[in-house]
Symmetry: D2
Subunit: 334 residues, 4 copies
Amino acid sequence: MALNVGVVGVGKIGQEHIRRLTETLAGVRVVAVSDADAARADEVAARVPGAKAYPTGEELIAAKEVDAVIVTSWGDTHAAYVIAAIRAGKPVFCEKPMATTEEDCSAILDAEAAFGKRVVQIGFMRRFDTQYRAMKETVQKGAIGTPLMFHSVHRNAFSPGHFKATMAITDTAVHDIDIARFVLDDEPVAIAVKAPRGNSRAGGVADPLFTLMDMRSGALVTIETSVHIAYGYDIRGEVIGETGTVSLAEQNEVVLKVNGAFSGRVFADWPERFDPAFDAEFRAWISAAGKGGAAGPSAWDGYVATAATLAGVKALASGAREPINLRDKPALYA
Amino acid sequence: MALNVGVVGVGKIGQEHIRRLTETLAGVRVVAVSDADAARADEVAARVPGAKAYPTGEELIAAKEVDAVIVTSWGDTHAAYVIAAIRAGKPVFCEKPMATTEEDCSAILDAEAAFGKRVVQIGFMRRFDTQYRAMKETVQKGAIGTPLMFHSVHRNAFSPGHFKATMAITDTAVHDIDIARFVLDDEPVAIAVKAPRGNSRAGGVADPLFTLMDMRSGALVTIETSVHIAYGYDIRGEVIGETGTVSLAEQNEVVLKVNGAFSGRVFADWPERFDPAFDAEFRAWISAAGKGGAAGPSAWDGYVATAATLAGVKALASGAREPINLRDKPALYA
Amino acid sequence: MALNVGVVGVGKIGQEHIRRLTETLAGVRVVAVSDADAARADEVAARVPGAKAYPTGEELIAAKEVDAVIVTSWGDTHAAYVIAAIRAGKPVFCEKPMATTEEDCSAILDAEAAFGKRVVQIGFMRRFDTQYRAMKETVQKGAIGTPLMFHSVHRNAFSPGHFKATMAITDTAVHDIDIARFVLDDEPVAIAVKAPRGNSRAGGVADPLFTLMDMRSGALVTIETSVHIAYGYDIRGEVIGETGTVSLAEQNEVVLKVNGAFSGRVFADWPERFDPAFDAEFRAWISAAGKGGAAGPSAWDGYVATAATLAGVKALASGAREPINLRDKPALYA
Amino acid sequence: MALNVGVVGVGKIGQEHIRRLTETLAGVRVVAVSDADAARADEVAARVPGAKAYPTGEELIAAKEVDAVIVTSWGDTHAAYVIAAIRAGKPVFCEKPMATTEEDCSAILDAEAAFGKRVVQIGFMRRFDTQYRAMKETVQKGAIGTPLMFHSVHRNAFSPGHFKATMAITDTAVHDIDIARFVLDDEPVAIAVKAPRGNSRAGGVADPLFTLMDMRSGALVTIETSVHIAYGYDIRGEVIGETGTVSLAEQNEVVLKVNGAFSGRVFADWPERFDPAFDAEFRAWISAAGKGGAAGPSAWDGYVATAATLAGVKALASGAREPINLRDKPALYA
């Protein structure tokens, strides 16, 4: 009765998902893995009892024992695997970005629409975070009146060696863009990106960035990304409504009072901050995939995120406010 | 490779543990259940795929397919099942109270000492709570100097219909007593219980209670139990050291600002507050039991908790400070 | 039109009050000072434009230009000066303790009752603190139901060289005792004091202390005094009612996030914490004294504080719960 | 020895300042008032013992008994009075805006520079707020590294009947603009203003506004003004540096726990929030003016605030980023 999962792409994130599925969560087994690096696929398979390495993602997707697929390969390759899974009628969990071009995203939308049923779930784990869910619920029930602004703050202590300024949009702000859409239940129409005085710790790339995203309703989303801020991983958010606001509460375990000060710990990095959200995300997926479907963020959400971040990259280069022209939304996602 | 578990006593708590083991956690299966109410055992077994109902706990414990045992029957019956499991060499998780008399507790200690290895784990889930663990770690590393006091506050919105004042000690304060021992790494020597002005919502029983427990080191533990306080389930704690203090941080998801006030939610009840701790507790047990052992709170901890709460019950009646005379600690628990 | 004030006793506290009256507050002048140390009186008078030194407090009180009197001499001498002021019909502000014996307190009560009008105000400045006032108001309007307990915490970073354990009751806990009466609108009937494991920084005297005070209504007041706790000056308080609680909010200016932690400053000492309360206390006094009366804490409050702390000193020595037997309350204080 | 003050313009703000000077603060007397409405001047003078009404501000400024001047007339008239005071060599406290045109501001700068000594103090009271002072100090000592951004939030529950969108810049954001300059020790170079989805409670005017101000160093200042947000008066601020952040702590008196939630009060309006800052501002002024000078915000600060807000008004209309071209800074303000 457990869900038998195949994982396409077993780099760092893929392995982390395998660990979560095999060591933490109930009702799921990892039965197949594949990777562009065949040796790595073999090595990972050897460590996961019951898992077999496949030479290609396509073969893995086609394999009989595979009930559902997780795509954690490089972003450029996502679309092909996701479409293959859709065509095979197999539920597929795809890490963000769903695809790196609007064309690839659109192809996925068309494939899923043609299949006629949602089978794609995108890895926007924040949608499963209890804090953001409480925020959305607060907005939805009208507690703060019509939402007018959303201030999102995304801070990382450091960024990987290969960091480029555009990644602060495509890899970092993408989460804020998606969660703003989720919380506000609204779509973006334009985006502008400012590069303030740079952090000297950022090795010459533009950091921080300050993004302004206009929503269809007129609501304004602001996003601060500071990805070399040293002190920790800090995700802040506040929705401003007509009559009140709702913001993410600070989280910490204990408060220490010593030496003339009170203090508490800030999260070190995202795996720690969002660990329960990752659990919840996969629990929802395992349950939905077990019934042949998907939960939470859809291919449409993946598409809009890519469209918005690509417009953001353009806006960073141009210095101008760039439109986000979304294609028509297939009825499947209504 | 999954741990095959039998559950003795499938009332509310037992069923909740079964749900957690089968729907939430990896690496475990529930293969056997028993209950004083045979119909209930059958009914629960019917709902858990792969589980078989046994007429008695003894037969369940003896069953070949049972690797490890969970005891969630009525408190008075715990000792017999726990001792049977020890003698069968099977890891056993026993809900608190480990037993309701010091004699029964002592018999368990003797049985486990005779077996020569820890196989008993007691259900003090707070020891797996990240907040208390951070508190203990803070104390242990000397951040606040030598601990001198521990203020613990235990509030329930309401109590069950069958509530008696002594239950605020044996069922409520028992958690605070155990966690104070855990955080301070100290043993109780005496206990006094005051009954302040009573809550009119408590239906005539003495509530709140204020307990003072003296520790071997001289440290003072104070415990407020307010079990009809209406506003929510609220667990507060602060350790006062020579140079500083450490306290449990407030937890909440979002902060709302409306109508001239900021506000946030308080937990409604203990399953919500300690849900992640229950997960962590059983993860630790599954892992340890898989190796034939136990993790976290031991039979000794179960014994001291019972001894201290029984002295507390006596103190409530006498109005005096009652000694807590602990037996010698078997070397197994050193 | 300004109030002309004479100050009896110009040690540290007296000089601090003179500074506040002359440099900070409107509507008041210091026109006379006296001190057991005549040279000190001369010196202080020389620094305060318009102030004259008197050889004795009695002469100062009798002086024509003195509208109202502040008594900040040693505690043992308070009663004589306060009674002299009452008999002169002059409003008198007396620092706590109002007197050091119940007899002296009683003599003041009798004198003021005979005078027939409140002219005595005692220096319990917490009653003018906006936080405690909000707490009292919250309780009074029934927001938490009937109050059942009050937990008060009084922490000093260090204590003066001449500190004795009894001072933690008479000089420290006295504030908590008074404010508990104020917030709960209740009177004490008994007191017990426990001395937990001692702080090694306390130089051999018993610190911390944990005091339990029973109120007439049955409400329980607990008071932790930790007067060598190094980290700062920290005043905490929480009232526990039948349906909720109200507690003093933490106060700080800015929150810093650096090095993996958030942090903020704790007050260093009481002058900083209660500076606005001292301003408010004297504003209320200046206004009331200008009309020949007094505001806030009365001679009765001064008496009960002394009676309770003396019982507390006895309780610390005896280890027993000591009764607080209050005399009849003159109608003046009803 | 008290400072004798004349107040030009005794409308609401002028009367409030008179109340503070006469009823709250030491060392100052109000001896003269004037107003465009002569009857109002007479009426106010009649209520302030020792105060005389003058037919014009010019005569008041020239009056022998007037040591120092407070200008609280309508903004358009400020410059003439301030310049008259400078020429009379009298310290002058001028409410914001210092003047409503850059020309008038410049004339004040020239007059004070010609006088050769600072005698003008502008009413940016936030500079005397303990929270902002702690924030500035934190930044100055390098605790968060070089500052890169400042997020300021300015919320009013409601706005007066005559509110226009530009007032959210000239009357509201002007405070944020000034305090950002103060905290960052930096000057603005350009400003842009966005009008998000409007608050339906704002009666058709654009509210909220979101302002982006670029500083000379490259630091970015963002200012949210929401002036019909109903829930209260809320001033938030955070400086983001290279290695950390510092933000204004939340302020409240008590925390209430009832009905499943904790809660606390938000300030109702600015007089309550900044009352201690107003006291501190005037204490500093009384002290400095007593020595013939001025403290805190200078005429230069008044000028830059006007220049920046006028550029902001232009930016709101144009939708573009408008430069803020500051004149040369006289050596007096170096």
